[in-house]
Symmetry: C2
Subunit: 343 residues, 2 copies
């Protein structure tokens, strides 16, 4: 088993100073990323070209003393592999050919075919693992079924996930079929990522906000629990981080009922409060406001300080509460890493 | 004092069946609203013409057995009265001439001049009160300073309030000045609404999501506490409802520290959980998902049932967890009212 402070924290050890990585650490805020992106031309080409994806995965590791790399990929590769057309329009976000009702599900391929199509991502993981320093862990990831479904039903991003929620309200059985096929494909995809070299996994439930508790239970907790149980049946020692962003108080149930080893918090979920609410002792991760990192200066210093104070003495991984914003100054990331090491 | 089940619930009485009103009950989902709107031409003209605003305020009261009317107005009338140019572009939402830094604050007039400019809204309240059945309460309202500030700084709506947060991080003292003038103006505006006939008030903190706890305390809790204390010093018997939408777990502090009489919950804040967390016994309001009202049928029935079950035996006002969505079928609102009365 890899000697990694990050993995030790995920397994429940109060490692101090806390291991650190940052969501979207491989991204547009880095000039070397933008250079690769400009040559590749297209975002999906980057995801599907292992040499390019491996290169951008490694870029932040070369710059900063981070404890984990996360494979460069996208949560929408699963619907793409299932047969949903996908393109990334410059400056507009993803565009999918939407599926709006149960009849549209016939357009989807089966879960194992989808997982098999994602071979380039597994190759990226192997390439990265071969080049990473041994003490740096490699994280594989997937979008959670509800979050991925919101993109499929809306045909892109949305602020309120109205189309997906309406389908779920009007035709719970049909919508459950969509969630089920996404769950099946995600399990295979994550297992393959482990076999290709992932040391840990993160499940991104990026659109967990605004869901009533019964819907959150049915569409977020249950699918995550099924993914975790299936993956752990074959790979019991691979820690799994859940990130139910915007889930507010419902995160307490997510932590208790999904079987995850660690939970990533968004900036509005106080670490001390969440720790006090945990019904079983899991690691926490987070949760600096990405805008405090953009701001830098005293806002950044105070934000890091508050998190370190709240987390000290518990199993914890320092991270943001959401992905790095493209306009972030790379120097601020260096400052963040220094502040955490100094704390 | 008005004999009103709504006001009794806000004062802590477990009235059953629960009194009911719906955020944005006067709005585009009603054909009679769209008719007035089409004649008025402009949204702001409607707000500033007491006869029109009173008419649309009363429309839902004529259709449905609701326990409260809420004056037809907009949370952006305060910045408009403070001198920020404002227009509502059709289908695009509000557009303001943004203030992005402390230097821009010089463009704002003082709080008492602003409150004085909003005379048409006070006239609307008086007109509505004269026409309302006596047992129907009249609610006055304002946007909370942070929420209003996000529109002023962004120049409109935004999904992440990035510009306002960045200013708050980079120049806390300058941003505090903006919050202060908004707080001062809001206090005067709400007092005038009471004097014109409002029986209760609601403070809409529509963009409370995603704020780290120290920022939520400084920018949401403290200004709300100052508003409540000032209004209650002159009008101790007027109940005040706070609505920190998206505040997740931080709502517990909001309820404890602002002095509000009641808190409106969003759909993701479970009623039973929140009641158990309350440090002082206040009424709760909410929190049906507006999309369950759009969906109707079993989704609506189940949503109402779950809320009634959770709220029974406590001081409670039935409402949505956010405003009525324009595409809502008015028949579904009738069904909702019947379901609550039957529960």
């Amino acid at each position: 088993m890899r000697h990694s402070s990050f993995l030790r924290a995920l397994r429940g050890e109060a490692v101090w100073t806390p291991p650190t990585w940052l969501m979207r650490q491989a991204g547009r805020y880095l000039p070397e990323y933008r250079a690769v992106r400009a040559n590749a031309g297209d975002f999906l080409t980057m995801c599907y070209t292992p040499e390019l994806a491996a290169e951008v995965t490694l870029q932040p590791i070369r710059r900063y003393a981070l404890d984990a790399a996360i494979v460069f990929a996208d949560i929408l590769l699963i619907p793409h592999a299932l047969g949903v057309s996908l393109r990334f329009a410059e400056g507009e976000g993803p565009k999918l050919d939407p599926i709006r009702d149960a009849a549209g599900l016939a357009r989807l391929t089966d879960a194992s075919s989808a997982a098999a199509k994602l071979t380039p991502i597994y190759e990226t993981l192997s390439l990265v693992r071969a080049k990473l320093p041994p003490q740096v862990a490699l994280i594989g990831f997937a979008g959670a079924p509800w979050t991925v479904a919101t993109y499929i039903v809306e045909g892109g991003g949305s602020s309120d996930q109205a189309a997906a929620k309406l389908w779920a309200y009007r035709d719970p059985a049909g919508f459950a079929q969509l969630i089920d096929v996404l769950t099946d494909a995600t399990i295979l995809y994550l297992e393959n990522q482990i076999e290709a070299g992932a040391d840990a996994l993160q499940i991104f439930e990026s659109w967990a906000s605004g869901l009533p508790e019964p819907m959150f239970e049915r569409l977020c907790i249950r699918p995550a629990a099924r993914i975790v149980a299936a993956v752990k049946a074959r790979h019991p020692h691979i820690p799994i981080i859940g990130f139910p962003r915007g889930s507010g108080v419902l995160a307490v149930r997510y932590a208790a009922e999904t079987g995850i080893d660690a939970m990533s918090l968004d900036p509005s979920q106080p670490i001390g409060w969440m720790r006090a609410q945990l019904k079983r002792p899991i690691a926490l991760q987070g949760n600096l406001d990405p805008l405090a990192l953009v701001a830098g200066g005293e806002a950044l210093a105070a934000g890091v300080r508050e998190i370190l104070t709240a987390a000290k003495g518990s199993p914890f991984v320092f991270n943001l509460g959401h992905g790095i914003i493209p306009q972030t100054d790379p120097e601020h990331v260096q400052t963040l890493v220094d502040l955490v090491r100094g704390g």
